[in-house]
């Protein structure tokens, strides 16, 4: 088991390296120095305590959407609807934050809970349609994304219109924000907020559910083989519904972390990119909660460092997204790397017989 785990992590690392190499080639094509570009990219994400705080704040929604996608994946579901769930979570959080007036601990609890509930509801619809009618969750989630997009588009200007702009909500009061003074002071005034701790707690809770509880075991069993799970007495439909509800709840919490933590209002006409990036995070993190945490922080470095890189060089900031996308392609095609790896290992095991092997390979040609 341990050997297998190591190999999986190694494959993920190889995908990262290949993605960075592809990015370097692109930077070189546009006539820039790749090493210089990467230097500024990572420097921009990590050069001082404030930048590190910003990186963690950027990573926070990614941790949660990544966790959402990974969790659904364990039950064999592809949650492409994290963007919509995040939007609704953010809308609910903003609505509660702007409507209620009470002390910070109570208000913040309500804000976060409402975001979780909103996301859970948005995840429950594709989950129910999948469980009850076997409607493919990818298509129904995409429809839910659009409904969320237009819901925000019309509800925000109608009820929470901003002071200056029609296209955003009013700023939420400090009492409803996940930003707290002591944390910002600790990180020299960065964007970091309580959302990061919520995300880490979510990672721990999800890891516990998946690895230590009967419920988690049932979810994974349905993911491996729905029919085998059913014949063992697990109600697969119930697992599917609950899995999507929890995935939606996680993405909804991500919405709170983004709209009332990182930002302080919600804009209309923008679908959060963290929804799709969550898929990338989940894939690179091998769908494991801790893997998601590290993958999200890595992508957070790229996302928060790209502005600095763009300011210092003439490399377009989209290089960060291109690198992430390329990493995902390499992660999806890692069977290619795996084959090469297996071949290499076989040769190593034979040790002195290496030369002989090579000859055999040549004679045998492509198998």
């Amino acid at each position: 088991m341990k050997v297998k785990l190591n190999k999986d992590y190694l494959l993920a690392l190889v995908a990262v390296v290949l993605g960075l190499i592809a990015g370097a080639i692109l930077i070189a094509i546009t006539g820039n120095n790749p090493l210089e570009g990467y230097f500024y990219l990572f420097r921009g994400g990590l050069m001082n305590i404030q930048r590190i705080g910003d990186t963690l704040a950027t990573a926070t929604p990614l941790i949660l959407t990544g966790l959402s996608v990974a969790f659904a994946f364990k039950t064999g579901l592809f949650n492409i609807g994290a963007a919509g769930q995040m939007l609704i979570g953010g809308l609910c959080a903003t609505a509660v934050g702007l409507s209620l007036d009470c002390s910070k601990p109570i208000l913040l609890t309500l804000v976060v809970l409402s975001a979780i509930l909103g996301g859970a509801l948005w995840g429950a619809v594709p989950g129910y349609l999948k469980a009850r009618f076997n409607v493919h969750e990818v298509v129904s989630s995409i429809m839910m994304n659009w409904i969320a997009y237009w819901a925000v588009y019309y509800i925000v200007p109608a009820y929470f219109k901003g002071q200056f702009l029609e296209t955003e909500s009013r700023k939420i009061p400090a009492a409803a924000s996940l930003k707290v003074d002591w944390l910002m002071n600790l990180f020299n005034g960065s964007y970091i907020n309580l959302g990061f701790f919520l995300a880490v707690i979510a990672v721990i809770v999800i890891a516990f559910i998946l690895n230590k509880t009967t419920f988690g075991y049932e979810l994974k069993a349905v993911g491996y083989n729905r029919f085998a799970a059913e014949s063992a007495g697990i109600i697969a439909n119930q697992s599917i519904l609950l899995s999507m509800v929890l995935a939606g709840a996680l993405a909804g919490l991500g919405g709170a972390a983004f709209y009332v933590g990182y930002a302080s209002n919600i804009q209309i006409g923008v679908s959060p990119s963290q929804g799709f990036d969550g898929i990338a995070v989940s894939l690179l993190g091998l769908n494991s909660p801790w893997g998601v945490l590290f993958a999200a922080i890595f992508f957070g470095v790229l996302q928060s460092g790209k502005g600095f890189m763009n300011a210092m060089t003439s490399i377009p900031p989209e290089i960060a997204d291109t690198i992430i996308a390329t990493i995902i392609y390499f992660a999806a095609t890692n069977i290619l790397i795996e084959r090469a790896w297996e071949r290499l290992r076989k040769r190593k095991n034979k040790g002195s017989a290496l030369k002989k092997d090579l000859k055999v390979d040549k004679v045998g040609g492509a198998e």
Binding site: L129, M143, F276, I279, A280, E318, A331
Partner: protein, 315 residues
């Protein structure tokens, strides 16, 4: 009411055509057994390729530049789809993840390159296609006014592609083989069909058609590459399922989306529509899709082996 319909009809058609082409692309791919969720990204690639070609050429070759641009979009779309074909056919990769990677790469890479080329990330073309009335046919009462006035040449091209696709998939041996690969690849293989080759052809065709659709957006109603086709590729995917993986069904589904979106877009200008809240008009197509999916769920016509990597050893 009639006036309104006549007025918005050309817009509905213009909006329908890219959807139709993309969904037809998806039809080829899924009929051969490969789910292509990367249609959105492939549209963006065609959008970019077309914009780049036209913006570079239109100074020397006014008029023909547009057609070269459409051809360029077909080619880059088809080539880009190779990434998805390789991952899902040769490497048995998860097709949904591979498609998602295609979307992400296309979305970021094209803006990256466009920003490098133009600085702003947008590529503008000066001349788009011009709408024409079809001589003679446009004089027919009722129909003439709806279908044969103010049309784009690409619309007729797309209709031709639709008819050709129907003929190819349902009336030729090639089409039967392609569909067999999506229903039961092992059986197709044992009948002497090269499943890998068929699926490659199908996925590349889907990329070519999605690429063409992206360029059609450019030369008809957009006029500027901006790095996104705002979810049309996903909508085309939904239309494919809505249309139950059949050419005519797809035509109906895409036209429904085109009309519904156009109505939602012009609702502010039409008094009788302005009373309906915008949120209902905008969400209408998506809610209807969900309902239709539920209705079709009992006897879905999805290709049996859709999304499954071909495993020679499996029976």
């Amino acid at each position: 009411m009639w006036d309104i319909i006549v007025q918005i009809f050309p817009y509905a058609i213009a909006y329908t055509i890219p959807l139709l082409l993309t969904a037809l692309g998806g039809l080829y791919s899924e009929r051969s057994g490969v789910v292509n969720i990367g249609l959105e990204g492939l549209m963006v690639v065609g959008f970019f390729g077309g914009a780049l070609a036209i913006s570079k050429l239109e100074a020397f070759l006014p008029g023909t530049a547009i057609w070269i641009g459409l051809l360029a979009a077909i080619i880059v779309g088809g080539l880009f789809a190779l990434l998805h074909a390789f991952a899902s056919i040769n490497l048995n990769a998860n097709q949904v993840i591979s498609g998602t990677a295609i979307n992400m790469i296309a979305g970021s890479l094209t803006i990256f390159l466009a920003r490098h080329i133009t600085g702003s990330g947008n590529i503008r073309i000066v001349h788009g296609l011009i709408r024409n009335d079809i001589p003679g046919l446009s004089q027919i009462p009722v129909i003439g006014k709806l279908f044969f006035t103010q049309t784009y040449a690409t619309t007729w091209l797309s209709i031709a592609i639709l008819l050709f696709s129907w003929f190819l998939l349902y009336k030729t041996a090639f089409g039967l083989r392609l569909r067999a690969c999506g229903e039961h690849p092992q059986a197709a293989d044992s009948a002497g069909v090269n499943v890998y080759r068929m699926r490659y052809i199908a996925v590349m065709t889907s990329g070519a058609l999605a690429g063409l659709a992206g360029a059609v957006i450019l030369v008809t109603y957009s006029g500027e590459f901006n790095g996104s086709v705002s979810g049309l590729g996903f909508l085309a995917l939904a239309a494919l399922i809505f249309g139950q993986w059949k050419p005519l069904g797809i035509l109906g589904a895409t036209f429904f989306f085109g009309l519904a979106s156009t109505i939602a877009n012009v609702s502010q200008a039409v008094p009788s529509l302005a009373q309906i809240p915008g949120i209902i008009l905008k969400c209408f197509p998506y809610v209807v899709t969900l309902i239709v999916l539920v209705m079709f769920s009992k006897n879905s016509q999805a290709p049996k082996a859709d999304g499954e990597p071909y495993d020679k050893g499996k029976r």
